[in-house]
Every structure is written in C-alpha cells, then in structure tokens.
Amino acid sequence: MNEAYSRPEAGQVPVLRLGDILLVTLQGDLHDSTAQQLQQDLSETIVSAGVTGVVIDISGVEIVDSFLGRVLAEIAAQASLLAARTVVAGMRPAVAITLVELGLTLPGLRTALDAQAAMALLEQPVVRSHAGGMRRERA
C-alpha cells in the first residue's frame, strides 16, 4: 500500500492515500484558506491518482458551524463529479446535534461511525436503487 502526504507543508490538512482511498483527518478549526486548499488538493489528487473513495475523519472536530457543513457538502459534490464516493466518519454527538439544529442534514453525504467502518463501506460494490440513490449491496 503506497502512502504519502500530498503536500507536507505547514498549516495544511494532510491527505493520505491508502490504495484506492484518500483519508483526510480534520482536527480543530478549519479556516477559509485551509478549506479551499483542501478542496483543491483533494480534487487534484482524485484525478491524478484515480481514487474511488474519500474518507473524511472528523472525530477530532469538537465545534462545528455552517461553514464546515458547507465545506463537507462541497467536497462530496466535487468528489462525486470525479466519480469518487465520499464518506464522513466519526462525527461526535454534539456536532451532529448542532448540524441538525442548524438545518444542515447533509442529505447527499454518506456517513460512518469511524474511519474503519468508512473504509469497509467504500470497499463494498455499489448498485443504483430505483430512487436513484446509492445503496450498499451485501455480499
């Protein structure tokens, strides 16, 4: 499994590549410039490395606002345009409650309990259900 930091510069969110999957771990506050840089990094890496899935681990995020909710939704939309699935993993209860209270239920986003569950989710093949949404297919 080849593993490398896409850009080892300070003040940036590291993007790890694990096989066909990109792993992003968000911690603490996410600033506007960092978020923009992350979106750019991700889309470039998806294209250049040909990955099929992105896992965003936000278990280290304690406080959330509408900005982070929008960034997550945008990343998912971008990845989906580039034929990669995005899974948000490890959201804390307080963060989930805040997002729901803000009205950000992120309907298009896949979620998982932790990074491991997210990887397992991405390893499953995809079928399209009649409603047009993605559905997990059990082996």
């Binding site: 209860p93 963060v95 989930a96 997002l99 729901v100 569950a117």
Partner: protein, 299 residues
C-alpha cells in the same frame, strides 16, 4: 434573677426580649413541647421535643442579640433552619397544608407572650408593650423562616424528581451487537426529546451501533413538534453514521400524522419493534432461524 430584673434600665426592648428568652429558655421549651406542632413531630420522646424547643429559643435569642428581629436571613436562624424544615416537612407529610403548618407555628407565640407579660407585670405599660411587640415580630420572623424553608424544600424535591424523570424515562437498550433501541414512553416535549437525542447518540458512539431503533409505542400523541424532534434525532444519528428506524407507530397516530401533513418519507419506519429488529438483523447479515421449519426472520 430578681437582681437582674431590678437592675434598672436594660437598654432596648429587643435586648430585653433576648434576656427574657435566655432566662426562661427551659420553661418556654417545656411549654412548646406541649404544643400540637412539637407533640406531632416528636411523638416518641418529650425530652427530644424539649431539646428541639431549646434550640429554637437559643436561635431566637441570638437573632435578638444581633438586633435583627425582622430579618429572616439573620445568621441566628441558620442553625435551626434544617430542624424547622424537618418539622414542617413531617407536618406536610401528615397531610397538612402550608397554611395549617403556619398556623401551628403561630400557636407557639401565646405561651411565650404569657410568660413575658407575667414577668414584666410591674413595668410601665409602655415598656411592656414595646417588649411584646419585639417578641411578636421575632415570632413572626420565625414563622417566615419556617415557611420559606418548607417551600424551598418542596421546590428542591420537585427539581430533583424532574431530573430523575428525565433520566428514568430514556433508557437505551442494546438489542444486538450493533443495534440499540430507545423505547419512548409518555409525552415527548422539547426537553425530553433533547435528552433522548443526546443519550441515543452517545449510546451509538459507546456501543458502536450501526442501527438505532426509536420505538414510539408508548407515545400517546404525535404532533408536528414531536414529529420534528423525531426527524432531528434520525438526521443526527444518520450524520454519525448510524441508521435510525422508527417503530411502533400506532394506527391512530399514523392517521393523525397523515392528516397533519407530516412527511416522514425520508425516515425508515416499521410497524413494531420486532419488525424493526428483524430489518436491522437482516441488514447486518444475521440470520435467525425458527425452531421448526427454520424460516428466516421477517423483513
């Protein structure tokens, strides 16, 4: 004692009342022990009642000493506050209203007043009146303290029980490895829904649950607010990576929800808790076989 009485002017009426209380401590306590309030509270031993009476008299004397007969927050009362609270609580338990307890406290005044009047008989009428006024004010303040204590104890009890109700009413049950359920019972309001949401989400994290079942069999009515709370809980659980199933919607509630135009379309629902569990087991890939024909679990 007579020397003391004949010792000329003794200062203000309040201080005189204080001296009177200290001198007659034993006598007052004995008389109080015969009053219905003390008799009813200290049923076992009269000595105990006398001791309690003495403590109250000491507190009154201390308050009079500090010249704060009208102040229910006076430091002297802190010592007897607990005792007064216990006494009025025991009377309340016996079925007396707060007014009746207050009246019983008021009946503590006449015996003391009689003693004071007989002791200061030879004094000029003016002085006597000043002293009885000071004493009556002091007894009035004692009554206020007792009622305050009783009320605050009642409030504390209500607060404690409200918290207990919130805790008791929302147990999260682990049905299977990776499946948790909350059986909701009783009316859901904002505060309860919030507690349900928090405990459920924490259980999802702690038990690593992929499925959460909200069973509303015990919820008598569902209005738009309750439905909104349910939707929020489902959405939050989904954000965390767990799938939420609502079960136990009774026919009448289903009709009401449709009439109200509430849309639970995005939420997974099952008729009963058993059906919901069956669905979750099936999704987890767990097969349950019956004893006779080995039929699979219902979907």
């Amino acid at each position: 004692m007579p020397e003391h009485e004949a010792g000329g002017p003794l200062g203000t009426p309040t201080l005189e009342v204080r001296d009177f209380l200290r001198r007659r401590r034993e006598q007052i306590a004995q008389r109080w022990a015969d009053e219905p309030l003390f008799r009813a509270v200290f049923t076992l031993s009269r000595d105990e009642a006398v001791e309690a009476g003495k403590a109250v008299v000491d507190a009154l004397a201390q308050v009079a000493d500090a010249q704060r007969v009208e102040d229910s927050d006076a430091a002297g009362f802190t010592g007897v506050r607990e005792q007064l609270g216990r006494m009025s609580a025991s009377r309340s338990r016996a079925g007396l209203s707060i007014t009746q307890v207050s009246n019983e406290l008021a009946s503590l005044w006449p015996p003391v007043d009689k003693l004071l009047t007989s002791e200061l008989e030879e004094r000029p009428a003016e002085e006597l009146r000043a002293c009885t006024t000071a004493l009556s004010t002091l007894m009035g303040t004692l009554r206020v303290v007792a009622v305050q204590t009783a009320l605050s104890e009642g409030q504390a009890l209500i607060d404690r029980q409200r918290l207990q109700l919130l805790e008791v009413a929302t147990p999260v049950i682990r049905l299977w490895d990776g499946i948790v359920a909350v059986p909701l019972i009783g009316t859901l309001d904002s505060a309860r829904s919030q507690v349900v949401m928090e405990t459920l989400l924490n259980a999802v994290v702690d038990q690593h649950a992929r499925f959460a079942i909200l069973d509303i069999t015990g919820v008598p009515t569902v209005d738009s607010l309750v439905a909104q709370h349910l939707m929020k809980t489902v959405a939050a659980a989904r954000l965390m990576g767990a799938e939420c199933v609502i079960s136990g919607i009774r026919p009448a509630i289903a009709q009401t929800m449709v009439h109200l135009g509430l849309d639970l379309g995005s939420v997974l629902t099952r008729a009963s808790l058993a059906d919901a569990l069956g669905y979750c087991l099936n999704e987890l890939g767990v097969a349950v076989s019956g004893p006779a024909d080995g039929s699979a679990v219902r979907r």
